[in-house]
Symmetry: D2
Subunit: 399 residues, 4 copies
């Protein structure tokens, strides 16, 4: 018999703000009402701000991040098109898999799990592609499976250095609205996110932002698309409506979420995520004396930490004990790192005291599973960091 | 300044039961939790019952009915495949449009709006197709735009008479869970529905049921699919999980909706819809002396009535007055019937007293718009029918 | 098996606005938090505006209107004090009963049920009371049991004419926030209301407003009081806090309710109530050819109509059929008028289309019970009035 | 700018279960509906079980625990009646104050704050009261201000030893449904609780249980009572209804709360509270090296710990930092212990991981306030206890 709530520390879905939950607790509504467009238009505009885009076009589809990936591909590419990708975790893998299913000619660079987009190799490949056969370059900003953040600005520099016209497609599902992302500045062409991560909503929306350059690719893109087509959506959105029934309750929730992000300030949201993540890393390194899957500070993710357990242990024991005995959900290790890592998601509507739940539960579950970290050590390291680092919203946490 | 709630009488989204709303007012959850599958498996099984399918496979995608259509097509067909369809309203039109976008060879029979699937013409075409070039026959069970219900059993009989192996694809978006539908008995191969109609949920789910025959078509179907692919979904659903993050709040709502349907009894749900619809028709015919878009009783829909306004009037005036002045949402006329009809949706979580709102508001709005129906006439006719016809749940309303 | 919601047309609790429901759907909170007072102080101030009081003191007790009555009595009077009251319905009766239990010397004037406070008789009694033995005069502004509104300004004039210093105590439970009430202008000393009527909240709060004159009476009032004491409450409220744990969820709901009243405009709220009530009366008089319990237009209540059934019928049959068969709650006849009247509450968060439910359901239930009103007659009369009378919020409905 | 929720660790209101919150998120209802009594009767019966009463009578008043105190007094006693009480904290003090306001002759024994009901002194006083002038003995089972639990069974033994017929009145506001309480076995005559503690509901209900002996006292009790009268309530409750409008949303929440208690098992609820409390005490004693206000293990409360700060510190600094900086609500020191203690409430819907929030936040806030407890020490001690003590629900945590 479990009591209390399940403490949700997977890297998405995240802790939904009560205000968002309330905003969605509404009656259904007439999506053709005369004033519905007055709600939709600013919603799309404000969503765009989260991408730091000025000239882009935002699309919100019923679906999930996976649907967003599909939308990015099918509206811009044709069967046989060459694309440059890299695989370093389950989610970067799945996007590669999708491209292959769509009949693209995928050049996938294999990277050790724990590192991210290989910017230098990308640079070399792009430099070598004198005929510009590569139509799009894909980059996963935050690999959720390994807790690795990649350098998207670096990918843009590689493209620019090679003077390469390929589209830049970014998977920002577990980074956008949590980790700094700059659509315009970095020249991203399609950025894909979902509702259930930094947007702090239930799953159910693919949220993407598209550059005008990518919009223009539709004319030559031969892949079929209807549900995830930009054409119908762009035409109807211009009037404030949708080509098919939109998920109005989620849109109402998104309104609340955007308001909260605006009130906190997007930069403060990023700082808070960094600060919370850094506390968790202090717990892992200084307290528990464990390692992250991420190979170095340059890869550290501020939304999820994948913690490597000692070789003689199985991370699944930690996860199952946390869930069964302490009502705490931790993220599991996927594919290649199954059993080797457990993950703490630290994104969304969180503060220090809330994160204490993950630290406490993980500590108990690890010791239960035979990983004898010092009791209170992770917690003490994290709290002392949080206490002495400057407050979120005032300054970037001192390192 | 409007007060009170907006009375929602469009043909979907419908009035969400308070119990369903409550069921979705939950925290987000771990879709990989050890016990999540214990929730998912019976959910899929119980959804199947609503389709009256025993051997079929149910799929629930984040999306909408439109996504369900796409899933039906892309998992079973290949570019250039010949399909038999018919167009008699905006939604039957849109499915045709989708098939054309997917590069299918569409044989679309044009039917007067107000009638439905031309079963006899289908029979002739199928009979003539000796080489079985037609791979699939499409039928819209309930054309939401015109309030017309078609004879799906008749389409099956036409297929059987011609001994034709084509798949039978049915759009049941605005009929399933409201109007009798029999997947198994009628040999339907793919039935498509959405969450926001008879399932009484918010928009956000495509709910489809697939016959084993259709499942087997995947091997030869060449259209690309990933998000709406049956393969990944089938494999993961078998374990109680999903290939990508599911829309858990909607699934929780679906649980409540299925429980409510089970408690009322599916046949009673159908009877109630018929009874409410018949009352509305009495109001239209006997009270207001107006006509339906549907050309005769054999086409009358039990989920939506499209009311034709006198030639000198514009139905949009009725709709806008109802919305602006009385806070009542009526359905608009789409495409060919724009301005000619307004629609009263009478599906979902409704009873007689609730429907009185549509009758009262429509009466006031019509008189405001210069359609001088006799005050109280529609209402009187409907209520007297409801009062004297036997009670829903006890017997099929006497005619 | 009932489907749909129960249509709530009792004279309180009323239809709670969705916005109020949402506002209360919150976590519990720390009622001693440093910023809790910042919420409480403007809440009390804004509540006072609804009473049209400038110099009064508002108190919000966990409880109900009955608790408010007790608070009014116990903080101002002493055992044996003489009070002037009148009985013309179940609720005016109950307040008399309470005064008697508190050992007051009650001079209760018996009035025919269907009329209200006998202002002229009050005037005579007050005139005759040269020694000012009467310490308080009680008046029920709206007798919920009979649908009768009394002339509070008249009672004030009677007091003034006699130059009588007695306190004026008003039961405004089913009138305040729905029917015009003027604490300051009418010189009311204690006005009592509850959360579940015009304030559109769940039951659970006694909301009262007290003049400074009444506040000063505490010094000599000998009746015991602790829970409903003004002393502790006044002292703590001044700081924004409460002497014991307040019902914070209801207070959050009250905030939303006050915001809604402010946005609509208090005078518009009154006009809307009048307009809806007048439509219901047209249904009763012009449509159904029935009578109200209220003896004439001067007594007509804008929040509740008590409809007299023909002598050969029992109103309870109407009420039970409405509830059991149509899922509609009507108000029952209480005490002396049991079986003779059924009541339609038309107060709170309502519009014309919503009220159609009560008219439709009542019509069906009456005919079921053998009261053969003309089908559609009530509805037609009401709707035609609503349609042609000017819109609520723009002008007082023309008579 | 605070983010995340406020972590609520005051000793009531408590963390409301999501299920309870959902159960209250309903439309208002007709409290005179034919089937309302079918809901009320089992609700009252099941509430009684929580008191472990078989022959008692449960009453649920709109109000708060303070209203419950008043109900206990005014229904059983008369002005001038002698009562035996003891004062050892703010809440035991307030009940004494109420008795004095009601004109009772209070014999109040002063006890050092940190201890509880002085059973031996009670025994002496009762033994000496040969004429049985003492009409009632009052005992506060759990003094919320100091975190002290008293021995109610001991008070019963003292009464029995003296063969004394006085009523035994118990304040169980912060103990009932959290700490073992045995109405029947201990011969308690009136037990008072409120909705916002162990019942895990919002504030708004006084919940009391009354023995038949106390019920019989009404005949001779001269104190006035109407709102809190047992007579009206008993008469109406017998039919499943209430003498005035009940707080239906809270009653719906109570239904959910009772179901949850039943499902967990009342004894398991007690064990869980003990287990969580013991973990907190390990943090305080073994980790932080601080002291409780409670003077020894026999007084330790399983629902609230009042932690004494070092003499040179002010506990208010801890509380304000916890609230302002970490969004954590701790209980303040009241009256005599203001500034000397801060309190952690650990009652209601809680588990170990949830309590980690209080430990983490308190540790940070204490260090911020200059109380330099060892980082992670409290947390480590608590978690190791929780991890190694047997699981709640399986066995009483080993001491």
């Amino acid at each position: 018999m479990k009591t209390g709530y399940n403490a949700l520390f997977i890297p998405g879905p995240t802790n939904m703000p009560f205000r968002v939950r309330q905003a969605m607790d509404v009656a259904l509504e007439d999506m053709r009402a005369p004033d519905f467009g007055d709600f939709v238009k600013p919603l799309l505009e404000d969503t765009k701000k989260v991408f730091k885009s000025e000239t882009g076009q935002v699309f919100i589809f019923p679906g999930s991040g996976t649907g967003g990936w599909e939308s990015a591909i099918s509206n811009t590419l044709s069967p046989g098109d060459k694309v440059l990708m890299s695989r370093f975790g389950q989610f970067s893998h799945l996007w590669i898999d999708m491209c292959e299913r769509f009949g693209l000619d995928v050049h996938a660079i294999e990277v050790e799990w724990g590192k991210g987009v290989p910017v230098e190799e990308y640079a070399k490949v792009l430099e070598a592609d004198k005929n510009h056969e590569i139509k799009a370059v894909f980059a996963c900003q935050n690999e959720t499976a390994t807790g690795v953040t990649s350098d998207i600005a670096g990918v843009r520099r590689a493209l620019d250095a090679a003077n390469h016209p390929a589209l830049l497609m970014v998977d920002g599902v577990s980074s956008i609205a949590s980790i700094d992302f700059r659509m315009e500045e970095w020249g991203v062409d399609v950025a894909v996110s979902g509702s259930q991560k930094g947007f702090m909503l239930p799953t159910g929306l693919a949220i993407i932002c598209v550059s005008q350059k990518a919009m223009a690719m539709r004319e030559q893109a031969k892949l079929p698309r209807t549900f995830f087509s930009w054409d119908d959506m762009e035409r109807m959105n211009a009037t404030g409506y949708f080509p098919y029934t939109p998920a109005t309750t989620l849109l109402r929730g998104l309104r609340a979420s955007l308001d909260m992000i605006e009130e906190e300030g997007l930069e403060n949201v990023f700082r808070r995520h960094h600060r919370l993540a850094e506390g968790v890393r202090r717990a892992i390194f200084d307290g528990w004396k464990l390692k992250l899957c991420a190979h170095g500070p340059e890869w550290h993710s501020d939304t999820v930490s994948a913690i490597v357990v000692p070789e003689e242990n199985d991370a699944r024991d930690v996860i199952s004990r946390a869930y069964e005995r302490y009502n705490l959900s931790l993220g599991t290790g996927l594919a290649k790192v199954a059993g080797r890592v457990f993950r703490i998601g630290h994104l969304g509507w969180l503060n220090e005291v809330m994160v204490c739940q993950a630290l406490g539960g993980a500590e108990m579950a690890m010791r239960d599973a035979g990983i004898m970290v010092e009791p209170g050590s992770g917690f003490g390291a994290a709290c002392e960091y949080w206490r002495t680092a400057e407050t979120a919203g005032m300054a970037k946490a001192a390192e």
